[in-house]
């Protein structure tokens, strides 16, 4: 695993090979004291098929985040989410890093689904975007809808939001490329 520059790399954990949903950060960004202090792998993000456990008639499956390199536009700080799109019943898309208020928005538990911050992941290679985000999860569902989740560990996303002012490279299961 090469050292990274202003990026993070997520890859499958050999010790958790039976569970494709577990991904680890092997090496964090090298330009900040908080992240270079990371020693050894630690659970960072969960990557899994989405499913709707209570859907009558079965389960809704979606593909997990595609392997590859992405860019998080940490230089874009979107206004905090405060409205609901009435097609998706969640806040409209935001293409930088967006704070999520802890209180419900129009009765929707957005914070439970996304945590305090969500960051849009733009794929570096052409061929389509899944609209994936790097987001939290505080409602205990344990799955995503094709995104990466930091669960309740906000250290990485807080660092991006508070200390990074340029695009951040993110690689999923592949060697990182500097944006």
């Amino acid at each position: 695993m090469p050292a990274l520059c202003s990026g993070l790399s997520l890859r499958s954990s050999p010790e958790h090979s039976a569970s494709p949903s577990l991904y680890l950060a092997q090496q964090a960004a090298t330009d900040g004291p908080e992240l270079t202090a990371t020693s050894g792998p630690r659970l960072l993000a969960k990557l899994s098929n989405a499913y709707a456990p209570h859907a009558p008639g079965g389960t809704i499956y979606q593909n997990p985040t595609n392997d590859g390199n992405y860019t998080i536009h940490a230089e874009i700080h979107n206004p905090a989410a405060n409205s609901i799109d009435w097609n998706t019943w969640q806040p409209p898309p935001a293409y930088g890093i967006q704070p999520i208020p802890q209180q419900p928005i129009h009765d929707m538990d957005v914070y439970g689904s996304y945590g305090p911050l969500r960051a849009y992941m733009t794929p570096n290679s052409p061929g389509g975007t899944q609209g994936a985000y790097f987001h939290g999860q505080f409602d205990g569902f344990g799955y995503t809808h094709g995104c990466l989740s930091y669960g309740e560990d906000t250290r990485m996303i807080n660092y991006m939001y508070n200390h990074m002012s340029s695009p951040v490279g993110v690689s999923v299961d592949t060697q990182v490329q500097k944006p």
Partner: protein
């Protein structure tokens, strides 16, 4: 002879077309969707719209998906997985030249506090005209490029996970 052949081709061609529009298999989205550009520094070509996608299967299952659709002209079009969805699932059949569909909300990416799913059944009658579906005053056009991502929203038994 040529006239007869041409007439036969036109007749069978029209019959085939009529057959196609009677069975609305696949994904449909509003004709008048309003596409917006994302910030150019994020993606110079990406267009996005918040909309409702209808997806019909030949086996009579259907879903209504509230979602964001992403597209790059000439490249791809897909439902944005990460921007969340609502999914109403149900079934459809043809009745006197119209499509009768019933569905109920079975899934939201973001939970609505206090809500229990599935929701109540809704019954809709769709008409087909000029190759377009009409539902609640909104015209929908067939968009084959959405078939794959829309089909993923159909609830399936666990054993048939794709």
């Amino acid at each position: 002879m040529r006239t007869i052949t041409l007439f036969a081709l036109m007749t069978f061609g029209c019959a085939a077309l009529a057959q196609q529009v009677k069975v609305p298999n696949g994904a449909w989205m509003p004709v008048n969707a309003k596409w917006e550009h994302v910030p150019p520094e994020v993606s110079p070509k990406l267009l996005t719209t918040s909309t409702r996608v209808l997806y019909f299967q030949p086996d009579g299952k259907m879903v209504v998906i509230g979602c964001v659709v992403n597209r790059e002209p000439g490249s791809f079009i897909t439902i944005s997985a990460g921007d969340g969805q609502t999914v109403a699932a149900g079934d459809w059949h043809e009745e006197q030249g119209k499509i009768v569909a019933r569905s109920r909300l079975v899934f939201r990416t973001v939970t609505r506090i206090g809500e229990e799913l599935p929701g109540p059944w809704n019954r809709d009658v769709l008409t087909i005209k000029d190759g377009q579906l009409l539902l609640d005053g909104v015209r929908y056009r067939r968009v084959p490029g959405l078939d794959k991502s829309a089909s993923e929203m159909v609830p399936r038994p666990a054993a048939t996970q794709p």
